[in-house]
């Protein structure tokens, strides 16, 4: 029931993203652009005959796929050390990218760390939540 509708809304989203990112070069706010563009598309193409239950299921289905898609896009836009290494195993080039340096800078910018590299309450909360979620949902037993 929702399959075709969701498939077409994601197709519109990808076409919209190509226009916005590739031609208008608006890549900095990719997360917000993707989220709001999808929100607009899914509301605009919402069939009039949908009752409240249909709307709830349709929103859930779209939100679930959108969340996964946004997680995936993080790797596309921010880059991943493993993927960089897979494409180019040169140690010199890998070190030159400076992943740790870049993340450390971002963590200070978003107040996970203080300037003297101490963990802020926000950083503690993130670390606690990550471990808790992994312990409940998916952890390594080795």
């Amino acid at each position: 029931m929702y399959l075709f509708l969701t498939f077409s809304s994601f197709l519109y989203l990808i076409v919209g993203q190509i226009i916005i990112f590739k031609f208008f070069k608006l890549k900095k706010k990719w997360f917000l652009i993707t989220f709001f563009l999808h929100l607009f598309i899914s509301i605009y193409f919402l069939p009039e005959n949908f009752n409240s239950y249909n709307i709830l299921e349709y929103s859930f289905f779209n939100l679930l796929i959108l969340t996964c898609y946004l997680f995936f896009l993080t790797g596309v836009f921010n880059g991943s050390p493993s993927i960089i290494l897979l494409n180019n195993p040169s140690k010199k080039k890998f070190i030159k990218v400076g992943f740790m340096k870049h993340r450390l800078k971002l963590m200070k910018k978003y107040k996970f760390l203080t300037n003297s590299n101490k963990i802020t309450p926000r950083g503690k909360l993130v670390l606690y939540a990550t471990n808790l979620l992994s312990n409940i949902i998916f952890k390594e037993n080795d």
Binding site: V126, N131, L133, S134, K139
Partner: protein, 128 residues
Amino acid sequence: MINFFIINIIIMVLINQININSQRKVKFFLIVNLLVLFFVSNSAVQFLELLIVLFCGLYLFVNCYTVRYSSLRIKILNDIKKKKKITSETQLYNDRMKRFKKNNKSLMNKDVFTFFNAINNVFKKFFI
């Protein structure tokens, strides 16, 4: 659909308590949920919808795992918490190289990254 997702979460939480490695957990999760899927779906379209829900759910659960064991931000926070020196670029390089060794039986192995790299490259071509 929402009920099926809740079933997925419950099954994943239960499988997570079993003392097996991450790859086996994923296989178990897929086998059990595909069986549930065959029983609950009434049509081919519903089957496909629920299959998407199943794989999206799995992707989110795997993300809980990868954030804990692979995220650089979490690595930095753990280093500081344990009062260790923050991982250097060279240590990170060596750590990531270890993943690509053939004897790596964790979820984050070379095959998984090769698969994601292929899709990643397609999106990079279109967006960047």
